[in-house]
Protein backbone atom coordinates (compact mmCIF):
# COMPACT_ATOMS: atom_id res chain seq x y z
CA UNK A 1 0.00 0.00 0.00
CA UNK A 2 2.90 2.33 0.77
CA UNK A 3 3.79 2.00 -2.89
CA UNK A 4 0.59 3.78 -3.81
CA UNK A 5 1.38 6.64 -1.50
CA UNK A 6 4.62 7.10 -3.42
CA UNK A 7 2.84 6.73 -6.73
CA UNK A 8 0.29 9.38 -5.78
CA UNK A 9 3.03 11.73 -4.57
CA UNK A 10 4.80 11.21 -7.87
CA UNK A 11 1.72 11.86 -9.95
CA UNK A 12 0.35 14.84 -8.08
CA UNK A 13 3.78 16.45 -7.79
CA UNK A 14 4.37 15.76 -11.46
CA UNK A 15 1.05 17.26 -12.47
CA UNK A 16 1.68 20.46 -10.51
CA UNK A 17 5.03 20.76 -12.31
CA UNK A 18 3.28 20.17 -15.63
CA UNK A 19 0.94 23.06 -14.86
CA UNK A 20 4.03 25.17 -14.24
CA UNK A 21 5.58 24.00 -17.50
CA UNK A 22 2.42 24.87 -19.43
CA UNK A 23 2.35 28.32 -17.85
CA UNK A 24 5.90 28.81 -19.13
CA UNK A 25 5.58 27.24 -22.57
CA UNK A 26 2.02 28.02 -23.58
CA UNK A 27 1.41 31.05 -21.36
CA UNK A 28 4.88 32.41 -22.23
CA UNK A 29 5.53 33.36 -18.61
CA UNK A 30 9.01 33.77 -17.17
CA UNK A 31 10.01 31.32 -14.42
CA UNK A 32 9.44 34.14 -11.93
CA UNK A 33 5.88 34.80 -13.11
CA UNK A 34 5.14 31.09 -13.13
CA UNK A 35 6.26 30.55 -9.54
CA UNK A 36 4.34 33.60 -8.34
CA UNK A 37 1.20 32.32 -10.08
CA UNK A 38 1.54 28.92 -8.43
CA UNK A 39 2.15 30.39 -4.99
CA UNK A 40 -0.95 32.57 -5.26
CA UNK A 41 -2.90 29.54 -6.53
CA UNK A 42 -1.80 27.54 -3.49
CA UNK A 43 -2.87 30.36 -1.22
CA UNK A 44 -6.31 30.61 -2.82
CA UNK A 45 -6.82 26.84 -2.73
CA UNK A 46 -6.12 26.93 0.99
CA UNK A 47 -8.62 29.75 1.38
CA UNK A 48 -11.19 27.47 -0.24
CA UNK A 49 -10.17 24.67 2.12
CA UNK A 50 -8.95 22.47 -0.69
CA UNK A 51 -5.24 22.32 -0.06
CA UNK A 52 -5.35 20.29 3.16
CA UNK A 53 -7.28 17.43 1.55
CA UNK A 54 -4.72 17.56 -1.27
CA UNK A 55 -1.89 17.16 1.24
CA UNK A 56 -3.73 14.27 2.91
CA UNK A 57 -4.10 12.69 -0.48
CA UNK A 58 -0.72 13.29 -2.02
CA UNK A 59 1.67 13.86 0.89
CA UNK A 60 4.97 15.19 -0.44
CA UNK A 61 3.34 15.48 -3.85
CA UNK A 62 1.51 18.48 -2.44
CA UNK A 63 3.97 19.74 0.17
CA UNK A 64 7.10 19.84 -1.99
CA UNK A 65 5.81 22.02 -4.88
CA UNK A 66 5.99 25.77 -4.25
CA UNK A 67 2.18 25.93 -4.08
CA UNK A 68 2.46 24.59 -0.54
CA UNK A 69 4.36 27.74 0.35
CA UNK A 70 1.26 29.82 -0.39
CA UNK A 71 -0.74 27.27 1.55
CA UNK A 72 1.52 27.41 4.61
CA UNK A 73 1.45 31.20 4.76
CA UNK A 74 -2.31 31.39 4.28
CA UNK A 75 -2.80 28.70 6.89
CA UNK A 76 -0.91 30.74 9.46
CA UNK A 77 -2.76 33.92 8.61
CA UNK A 78 -6.17 32.24 8.72
CA UNK A 79 -5.44 30.46 12.00
CA UNK A 80 -4.62 33.80 13.62
CA UNK A 81 -7.63 35.46 12.02
CA UNK A 82 -9.85 32.72 13.42
CA UNK A 83 -8.43 33.21 16.91
CA UNK A 84 -8.13 36.99 17.10
CA UNK A 85 -10.44 38.30 14.40
CA UNK A 86 -9.49 41.49 12.58
CA UNK A 87 -6.26 42.03 14.50
CA UNK A 88 -5.35 38.45 13.74
CA UNK A 89 -5.19 39.09 10.01
CA UNK A 90 -2.35 41.51 10.71
CA UNK A 91 -0.62 39.66 13.53
CA UNK A 92 -1.02 36.46 11.54
CA UNK A 93 1.42 37.94 9.08
CA UNK A 94 4.11 37.89 11.75
CA UNK A 95 3.22 34.43 12.94
CA UNK A 96 3.41 32.74 9.60
CA UNK A 97 6.57 30.87 8.98
CA UNK A 98 7.86 28.71 6.25
CA UNK A 99 10.66 26.26 6.81
CA UNK A 100 11.46 26.56 3.11
CA UNK A 101 12.38 30.23 3.36
CA UNK A 102 14.37 29.93 6.57
CA UNK A 103 16.25 26.90 5.30
CA UNK A 104 16.96 28.52 1.95
CA UNK A 105 18.31 31.66 3.65
CA UNK A 106 20.63 29.71 5.94
CA UNK A 107 21.89 27.32 3.29
CA UNK A 108 22.10 30.10 0.72
CA UNK A 109 24.30 32.09 3.06
CA UNK A 110 26.52 29.08 3.76
CA UNK A 111 26.75 28.17 0.09
CA UNK A 112 27.86 31.72 -0.71
CA UNK A 113 30.79 31.17 1.63
CA UNK A 114 31.82 27.93 -0.01
CA UNK A 115 31.00 27.99 -3.70
CA UNK A 116 31.90 30.13 -6.68
CA UNK A 117 29.80 30.47 -9.82
CA UNK A 118 31.21 28.38 -12.65
CA UNK A 119 30.22 28.79 -16.27
CA UNK A 120 30.22 25.15 -17.26
CA UNK A 121 28.04 23.82 -20.01
CA UNK A 122 27.84 20.20 -18.88
Amino acid sequence: MLFFNFLIAFMVGGIICVIGQLLMDVGKLTPGHTLVTLVVAGSILDGLGLYDPLIDFAGAGATIPITSFGNALTHGAMAEAEKHGWVGVLTGMFEVTSSGISAAIVFGFLAALIFKPKGKVD
Binding site: A9, V18, M24, A60, I64, T74, V96, A104, K116
Partner: protein, 151 residues
Protein backbone atom coordinates in the same frame (compact mmCIF):
# COMPACT_ATOMS: atom_id res chain seq x y z
CA UNK B 1 9.99 43.74 -45.66
CA UNK B 2 7.81 45.19 -42.94
CA UNK B 3 7.91 43.98 -39.33
CA UNK B 4 4.75 41.93 -39.71
CA UNK B 5 6.05 40.03 -42.70
CA UNK B 6 9.29 39.57 -40.89
CA UNK B 7 7.65 38.12 -37.82
CA UNK B 8 5.87 35.60 -40.01
CA UNK B 9 9.13 34.59 -41.62
CA UNK B 10 10.84 34.42 -38.24
CA UNK B 11 8.13 32.19 -36.83
CA UNK B 12 8.35 29.84 -39.80
CA UNK B 13 12.06 29.31 -39.28
CA UNK B 14 12.24 29.32 -35.50
CA UNK B 15 11.81 25.75 -34.25
CA UNK B 16 8.55 25.35 -32.30
CA UNK B 17 8.62 24.81 -28.55
CA UNK B 18 8.62 21.03 -27.93
CA UNK B 19 5.53 21.17 -25.71
CA UNK B 20 5.00 17.43 -25.29
CA UNK B 21 8.64 16.71 -24.57
CA UNK B 22 8.85 19.56 -22.08
CA UNK B 23 5.68 18.49 -20.30
CA UNK B 24 6.89 14.90 -20.02
CA UNK B 25 10.25 15.99 -18.66
CA UNK B 26 8.61 18.33 -16.17
CA UNK B 27 6.23 15.58 -15.07
CA UNK B 28 8.93 12.97 -14.58
CA UNK B 29 11.49 15.15 -12.83
CA UNK B 30 8.89 17.03 -10.78
CA UNK B 31 7.25 13.76 -9.80
CA UNK B 32 10.59 12.21 -8.93
CA UNK B 33 11.57 15.13 -6.69
CA UNK B 34 8.25 14.81 -4.85
CA UNK B 35 8.76 11.06 -4.51
CA UNK B 36 12.17 11.64 -2.98
CA UNK B 37 10.46 14.12 -0.65
CA UNK B 38 7.92 11.47 0.28
CA UNK B 39 10.71 8.98 1.03
CA UNK B 40 12.53 11.49 3.23
CA UNK B 41 9.27 12.19 5.02
CA UNK B 42 8.77 8.52 5.81
CA UNK B 43 12.34 8.27 7.04
CA UNK B 44 11.72 11.13 9.44
CA UNK B 45 8.48 9.54 10.64
CA UNK B 46 9.95 6.09 11.09
CA UNK B 47 13.30 6.94 12.63
CA UNK B 48 12.51 10.14 14.53
CA UNK B 49 9.62 11.50 16.56
CA UNK B 50 7.90 13.15 13.63
CA UNK B 51 4.30 12.78 12.54
CA UNK B 52 2.72 13.41 9.13
CA UNK B 53 2.11 16.98 10.22
CA UNK B 54 5.48 17.78 11.74
CA UNK B 55 7.64 15.88 9.26
CA UNK B 56 6.69 18.36 6.53
CA UNK B 57 9.01 21.09 7.76
CA UNK B 58 11.93 18.77 8.29
CA UNK B 59 11.42 17.30 4.85
CA UNK B 60 11.27 20.71 3.22
CA UNK B 61 14.43 21.81 5.01
CA UNK B 62 16.23 18.64 3.95
CA UNK B 63 15.18 19.04 0.34
CA UNK B 64 16.29 22.67 0.43
CA UNK B 65 19.65 21.61 1.82
CA UNK B 66 20.17 19.00 -0.89
CA UNK B 67 19.22 21.52 -3.56
CA UNK B 68 21.62 24.08 -2.07
CA UNK B 69 24.53 21.65 -2.36
CA UNK B 70 23.52 20.65 -5.89
CA UNK B 71 23.28 24.33 -6.81
CA UNK B 72 26.74 25.03 -5.47
CA UNK B 73 28.16 22.14 -7.46
CA UNK B 74 26.43 23.40 -10.59
CA UNK B 75 24.33 20.24 -10.89
CA UNK B 76 20.98 21.90 -10.28
CA UNK B 77 21.60 24.23 -13.20
CA UNK B 78 21.89 21.25 -15.49
CA UNK B 79 18.79 19.69 -13.99
CA UNK B 80 16.91 22.96 -14.53
CA UNK B 81 18.04 23.19 -18.13
CA UNK B 82 16.68 19.69 -18.68
CA UNK B 83 13.48 19.68 -16.63
CA UNK B 84 12.23 23.28 -16.78
CA UNK B 85 9.30 23.60 -14.40
CA UNK B 86 9.97 20.06 -13.18
CA UNK B 87 12.86 21.33 -11.12
CA UNK B 88 11.74 24.96 -10.72
CA UNK B 89 8.32 24.35 -9.16
CA UNK B 90 9.34 22.08 -6.24
CA UNK B 91 10.73 23.86 -3.18
CA UNK B 92 14.18 22.73 -4.36
CA UNK B 93 13.79 25.22 -7.21
CA UNK B 94 13.12 27.97 -4.69
CA UNK B 95 16.31 26.92 -2.93
CA UNK B 96 18.15 27.01 -6.25
CA UNK B 97 16.94 30.56 -6.90
CA UNK B 98 18.03 31.77 -3.45
CA UNK B 99 21.36 29.94 -3.33
CA UNK B 100 22.46 30.76 -6.87
CA UNK B 101 21.75 34.46 -6.27
CA UNK B 102 23.66 34.34 -2.99
CA UNK B 103 26.71 32.67 -4.55
CA UNK B 104 26.67 35.17 -7.39
CA UNK B 105 26.65 38.15 -5.01
CA UNK B 106 29.66 36.99 -3.06
CA UNK B 107 32.16 39.16 -4.93
CA UNK B 108 30.30 42.29 -3.81
CA UNK B 109 30.69 41.39 -0.16
CA UNK B 110 28.45 39.82 2.44
CA UNK B 111 26.11 42.77 3.00
CA UNK B 112 25.67 44.42 -0.37
CA UNK B 113 26.37 41.34 -2.46
CA UNK B 114 24.94 38.30 -0.71
CA UNK B 115 22.44 40.19 1.42
CA UNK B 116 21.30 42.49 -1.32
CA UNK B 117 20.98 39.82 -3.99
CA UNK B 118 19.84 36.72 -2.15
CA UNK B 119 16.15 37.42 -2.88
CA UNK B 120 16.72 38.81 -6.35
CA UNK B 121 14.80 35.92 -7.91
CA UNK B 122 12.93 34.46 -4.96
CA UNK B 123 11.82 37.78 -3.50
CA UNK B 124 8.73 37.99 -5.68
CA UNK B 125 7.65 34.52 -4.56
CA UNK B 126 7.87 35.61 -0.93
CA UNK B 127 6.13 38.93 -1.59
CA UNK B 128 3.24 37.37 -3.44
CA UNK B 129 3.02 34.43 -1.05
CA UNK B 130 2.75 36.67 1.99
CA UNK B 131 0.58 39.21 0.16
CA UNK B 132 -1.93 36.67 -1.07
CA UNK B 133 -1.97 34.98 2.36
CA UNK B 134 -2.98 38.33 3.83
CA UNK B 135 -5.74 38.96 1.34
CA UNK B 136 -7.09 35.43 1.39
CA UNK B 137 -7.25 35.52 5.20
CA UNK B 138 -8.91 38.94 5.04
CA UNK B 139 -11.52 37.84 2.52
CA UNK B 140 -12.23 34.69 4.47
CA UNK B 141 -12.65 36.72 7.66
CA UNK B 142 -15.09 39.05 5.91
CA UNK B 143 -17.08 36.11 4.58
CA UNK B 144 -17.10 34.43 7.98
CA UNK B 145 -18.20 37.66 9.66
CA UNK B 146 -20.95 38.04 7.10
CA UNK B 147 -21.98 34.47 7.83
CA UNK B 148 -21.43 33.20 4.31
CA UNK B 149 -18.89 30.53 5.21
CA UNK B 150 -17.43 28.91 8.31
CA UNK B 151 -13.76 28.64 9.23
Amino acid sequence: MDPQEYQQLEQQITPPTPYVKNVLKAFLVGGLICTIGQAIMYLYIIFFDFTDKTAGNATTATMVFIAAVLTGLGIYRKLGAFAGAGSAVPVTGFSNAVVSAAIEGRTEGMVLGVGGNIFKLAGSVILFGVGSAFFVALIKLILVTAGVVKW
